[in-house]
């Protein structure tokens, strides 16, 4: 975990440095007072200093949880990656296919990937999550879920 903290602190440092670079391109002061770049510049400056301090603090301190891995074991990693990938697939398809088909695909793939085995339960859940949820949100709750290019 110690390495993870150092990497995270360095990522923060890079982001804060990028923010400083962006902030100085904005007006820092104008005739009315502080400009749009004033507060972000101060914050990013403080953040960059703190990131450096955190790198030093972490490097000097003993590892609080030695042996604990940031990346999980292969089966757990597969489940985590499945959720991330299917959520990304859902986001990519939603405007094109609409809620019903997108939810159908996401649930039909994700449930078995996470270990669900009963075909009947999966089929029932997939239908409820796609057509059932759409009906409830679109018609009853008036939440405008997207309808895709196929009119579904």
């Amino acid at each position: 975990m110690k390495r993870g903290w150092i990497v995270a602190s360095l990522v923060f440092l890079a982001l804060f440095c990028a923010t400083i670079w962006q902030s100085v391109s904005l007006p820092l002061l104008d005739e009315l007072g502080p400009g749009p770049g004033f507060f972000p510049l101060w914050l990013a400056g403080i953040g960059a200093v703190l990131s450096l301090l955190l790198v030093i603090e972490t490097a000097r301190a003993p590892d609080p949880s030695p042996g604990e891995a940031l990346i999980p074991a292969s089966d757990a990693l597969f489940r985590v990656a499945s959720v991330v990938v299917m959520l990304a697939v859902g986001a990519a398809l939603l405007d094109w296919l609409g809620w019903r088909l997108t939810a159908l695909i996401v649930t039909a793939v994700l449930l078995p990937a996470l270990g669900a085995r009963s075909p009947i339960a999966i089929a029932a859940f997939v239908l409820a999550a796609s057509f059932g949820v759409f009906h409830v949100f679109y018609y009853w709750l008036k939440v405008p879920l997207p309808i895709g290019t196929f009119g579904i």
Binding site: F16, P36, L50, L54, E57, A76, V83, V84, A103, T107
Partner: protein, 498 residues
């Protein structure tokens, strides 16, 4: 007298069939999301915001507040039956509650939690009624420098008590504040950090970010270790026996006081009152060595403190516009979505609405008690639903929640991005609560700082010449100093992530 008139008018509105139905639905949905493993109250409340899109503002806030209370109680059920806290405030309940369940007294543990929550919540709302109006009137005298100092104090409290490293806490606060800077500058209208993307002109949506950090982040963490064993216990007998009543009553009243007073302080997360209540009960007990073996006072005190805190935490939100925890920050987001700005002006501009919401807190507490005592067995059954279905269902609700705010897929990408970030930061044990509070308070903090400096023609001494500002800044510095010197109890710091 005026307060009483307002409260009665609030009750009249809150007791309408429509608002009662919203409160009931909120309590049910809230308890449900609280019971679901991997969905805490912040994510649960955020996920359910779309349900309120077509409601009037009062109905929406009543329902979301009820969801919040319900989720706080729902977390207790998983603590007692799974030894897994459904939300951070229930961590302490695991210690005695799970042991009671193993001894066959799980029903009594859940029963006393519901009763204690009702008493704590109701007393806290009565106190809220008493202090809210005077505090709001006092806050009306605050200028931008005072508000800046007050928000800074809240952020310092969250930061100082968050996680194992003060530097990491401040770093996360700064990160949250910077994320809030994305979009159009509120005072000059210039785009900042938008990279020419029109989707970023309105900034990153607070709700997709919170859903990502707390919802998707928690789902991914749960996906790693999804299998849990439910303890079989007696849930038919939810009423404590005479001996248990005797042991609980003192703990309930003490928990009420602790929860209420800590709820008033902006920035104190919900776990601290529960922790303090548990420590107090152990300290004053005649048999402290038995703590950890299933003592009912170890459930009654913290659970009461939890709900008393939850209601009292509405005081800084409603009177000062300052959220105390990520969940309250989500509620603040819901206020803003509904065109309302929490703070002292709400009491003068929308008195009926504010008092309707406050009256609904009373009603919500009654509904939760009525709902939870007989339905404990049903909630326990939900825990038996296979994890895969809960996970996929939650993912879909997160998608709907993120999409429906602006009817934009971009918000789903934001949620996904912050979900992965939240998952990694959670694994590294970085505190997330300061980032969320920084995100919601960022625009107001910047606005009050810049307005103050405009008032003083750029002179920073404006913050050191006004008495309230000076007191708040000194307190902020003290909080950070105490944390830097490691003077705060380590258990509080380690467990204060809301």
């Amino acid at each position: 007298m005026e307060t009483l008139d307002h409260l009665l008018a609030g009750f009249a509105a809150a007791l309408s069939f429509q608002n009662l139905a919203f409160a009931l639905a909120g309590c049910i949905f809230g308890t449900l999301v609280g019971v679901l493993p991997g969905v805490g109250p912040a994510a649960g409340t955020a996920i359910l915001i779309p349900l309120t899109f077509n409601l009037d503002p009062a109905g929406a806030i009543i329902m979301l507040s009820a969801i919040y209370y319900g989720a706080m109680y729902g977390g207790t059920i998983t603590s007692v039956l799974l030894n897994v806290p459904g939300e951070a405030a229930s961590v302490i309940t695991c210690i005695e509650g799970y042991q009671m369940a193993r001894k066959g007294r799980g029903g009594a543990a859940l029963g006393i939690a519901a009763i204690g929550s009702f008493i704590g919540g109701t007393v806290a709302v009565i106190a809220l009624v008493v202090v809210a109006a005077p505090l709001a009137a006092l806050a009306l005298k605050f200028g931008p420098p005072e508000f800046f100092a007050l928000m800074l104090f809240g952020l310092c409290l969250v930061t100082g008590l968050a996680g194992r490293s003060l530097i990491a806490g401040i770093l996360m606060t700064v990160a949250g504040l910077l994320i809030a800077m994305i979009g159009i500058d509120p005072t000059r209208g210039a785009p900042r950090f938008t990279f020419g993307m029109p989707e970023l002109y309105d900034g990153l949506g607070f709700i997709p970010v919170v859903m990502g950090l707390f919802g998707i982040g928690e789902i991914l963490a749960t996906a790693e270790k999804p299998y849990r064993e439910i303890v079989r216990t007696n849930l038919r007998d939810v009423m404590p026996n005479a001996e248990e009543w005797k042991a609980s009553m003192g703990a309930i009243w003490r928990g009420t006081g602790i929860g209420f007073f800590l709820g008033l302080i902006p920035g104190v997360g919900s776990i601290i009152p529960t922790f303090m209540s548990y420590i107090l009960e152990k300290r004053i007990s005649k048999h402290p060595e038995k703590f950890g073996t299933g003592l009912i006072e170890g459930v009654a005190g913290p659970e009461t403190a939890n709900n008393s805190y939850a209601n009292a935490a509405m005081v800084p939100l409603l009177t000062l516009g300052i959220p105390s925890s990520p969940t309250i920050a989500v509620l603040m987001g819901a206020f803003i979505i509904n065109g309302l700005t929490p703070g002292p002006f709400l009491f003068t501009e929308k008195p009926v609405l504010v008092w309707t919401i406050i009256a609904s807190f009373f009603i919500g507490n009654v509904i939760l008690l009525i709902l939870n005592l007989p339905l404990v067995g049903l909630w326990a059954k939900i825990l038996e639903v296979p994890y895969q279905y809960i996970c996929v269902g939650t993912v879909l609700f997160c998608m709907i929640g993120a999409y429906s705010i602006n009817s934009s897929v971009f918000d789903i990408w934001v949620m996904l991005g912050f979900g992965v970030i939240g998952y990694l930061l959670r694994k590294l044990d970085f505190p997330l609560a300061p980032a969320v509070l920084g995100l919601i308070l960022g625009p107001q903090l910047e606005k009050s700082l810049r307005t103050s400096l405009e008032m003083s023609a750029g002179d920073f001494s404006i913050f050191f010449t006004r008495p309230i500002t000076v007191v708040l800044l000194v307190l902020s510095a003290l909080v950070l100093l105490v944390s830097a010197l490691n003077l705060a109890p380590s258990q509080l710091r380690e467990a204060s992530e809301d």
